[in-house]
């Protein structure tokens, strides 16, 4: 039962956070600022994916049991990359050339965040959109009960499985790219020591370009997966920035591995703290002790408070995060 309500949702939510945090970490490590617009980048990617999903649905193009969004995803990724590059070209580049301090760039990114947010609202409005189609469950609770004879169900949503699989794929690729390819190594070198990278003949413009390629991809995939799993609502992504940043910082901002670990740490803590343990205790305790309330440590409304608390604790105890961050 824990598996059903804690581990699987934790894994899929954690994957979404991990991908989001990885994007934040990339911008931080290479461009050296905290990009608050990242949540909107995720939202924008999800929105474009939704638009294309609708288009494909209207054309009756689909993937059968898989959500149509998967065919639309590449278009979303492309659009997100373009948006990232445009925001860089027209906004961030200017401040980079001015050699502005990171906090100025962070403030500027908040401006970008509002602009992108406004664009999204103009295009799709503020309503909640459900765009997942295809088969919703891989295994329904009842099927599981019938299969195993246990009296608690285990439901496996296909969006969760897709999330976890895509995350594994994307993370493997990203780490392989950073560790094994010449371009990936040059990005690490640039993030490690910019001056020395220049002295080695590494072209900074190219590194920035590739960073946005990766960041756009990660953001769009993270945003779309989150939307598939829950539902798409522009305001949610504004809130999502907090756990995403918390994940990046808890893991050690600038460290890709840390971002991934941070994502899962935050996701599991949020879910475990807000999970209703009532049923759980029902099985463990004798009937007379059965709790009358839901036995939630905190109501789900406080979900974001959890990530905030962890963030503060980590900053107090180990300011550099679990895995000392700063460089790729």
């Amino acid at each position: 039962m824990l598996l059903n309500f804690v581990i699987i949702p934790g894994l899929s939510y954690g994957s979404q956070l991990a991908l989001g945090a990885l994007g934040v970490t990339f911008v931080y490590a290479v461009l050296r600022f905290a990009n608050f617009a990242h949540g909107e980048l995720m939202s924008f990617g999800a929105m474009i994916t939704i638009l294309f999903t609708w288009f494909f649905q209207s054309q009756n193009i689909g993937l059968g049991i898989l959500p149509t969004a998967l065919i639309a995803l590449p278009f979303g990724i492309l659009a997100t990359i373009v948006l990232g590059l445009l925001s860089d070209k027209f906004v961030f580049k200017y401040y980079r050339k001015q050699k502005s301090v990171p906090v100025v760039l962070a403030m500027v990114s908040i401006g970008v965040m509002f602009v992108v947010n406004a664009i999204i609202r103009i295009i799709v409005g503020t309503e909640t959109i459900k765009f997942s189609d295809g088969q919703k469950f891989i295994m329904k609770a009842k099927q599981f009960k019938a299969m195993t004879g246990l009296n608690e169900g285990l439901a496996l949503k296909s969006s969760q499985v897709i999330t976890i699989l895509i995350t594994i794929l994307l993370l493997t690729f990203t780490f392989w790219f950073l560790q094994k390819t010449k371009t990936g190594k040059s990005m690490r070198a640039f993030s490690d020591n910019e001056d020395l990278a220049l002295l080695s003949g590494i072209n900074p413009d190219r590194v920035v370009f590739i960073t946005w390629l990766i960041v756009g991809t990660l953001a769009c995939v993270a945003g779309t997966l989150y939307g598939l799993d829950k539902s798409y609502k522009p305001i949610i992504y504004l809130n999502l920035v907090l756990p995403v940043f918390a994940s990046a910082i808890v893991g050690g901002i600038g460290s890709p591995f840390g971002a991934v670990v941070g994502g899962y740490v935050i996701a599991f803590s949020e879910i475990m703290v807000t999970y209703a343990y009532k049923k759980f205790f029902k099985y463990l305790l004798p009937e007379s002790l059965e709790p009358s309330s839901l036995v939630q440590l905190l109501s789900t409304d406080y979900k974001f408070a959890v990530s905030f608390t962890i963030l503060v604790i980590v900053l107090l105890i180990r300011p550099s995060g679990i895995f000392r961050g700063k460089v790729l």
Partner: protein
Amino acid sequence: MISLVGKNLTAGYGGVDIIKNINLEVKQGEIVVIVGPNGAGKSTAMKALLGMLKLTDGGVSFAEDDITFMLPQDRVNLGIAFVPQTQNVFTGMSVEENLEMGGFIRDDNINLTIEDIYNLFPILKEKRNQNAGELSGGQRQQVAFGRALMTKPKILMLDEPTAGVSPIVMDELFSRIIEVGKTGVGILMVEQNAKQALNIADRGYVLVNGKNSREGSGQDLLNNPEVRKSFLGG
């Protein structure tokens, strides 16, 4: 014979000129040392040659071409390499990756050059998979030196290569520098350990207060009573 020449170099930070009308030259295959008291503008002169500072006057030429307005990273492509005094390795990357990054601009096979560098500094081969940030000061300098050599430079500039290392390591580094010089690379270095540096140098420049004060062969400068008195410690 290719040479890197700085003529009437005048430059500084924030409007104040630290070096004034300095002339420097280094040819392929020779070891040239810049010495002088603290604050004489030795490192500044070297950075001006590399283009890391905006010149207010004077110019730089390489192989007879004027490169005064060329970006530092483009000078790297010409065959001018530079080892900064501090932060001269990628601390989060392994020794081998540091060398690979040194050879970033090359399209040919860099593995042979990496082998050459391992032969020059056997300890690096031993620690090839260790992060450069975990190495001792002397080993780090070897990595920094190796990284710069990976570009197969014609002229190599070293900013205080022996800063903060023990005397034994210093001798070791100097003998490696001589070895590299013998392969036809021109070496220009700034050194605090003036005596030892002048000992191995073909030529030397003495800078005082941002100006050329004296130049000559290493031995001449070592034997010059004035130079000895002013900063070689008698």
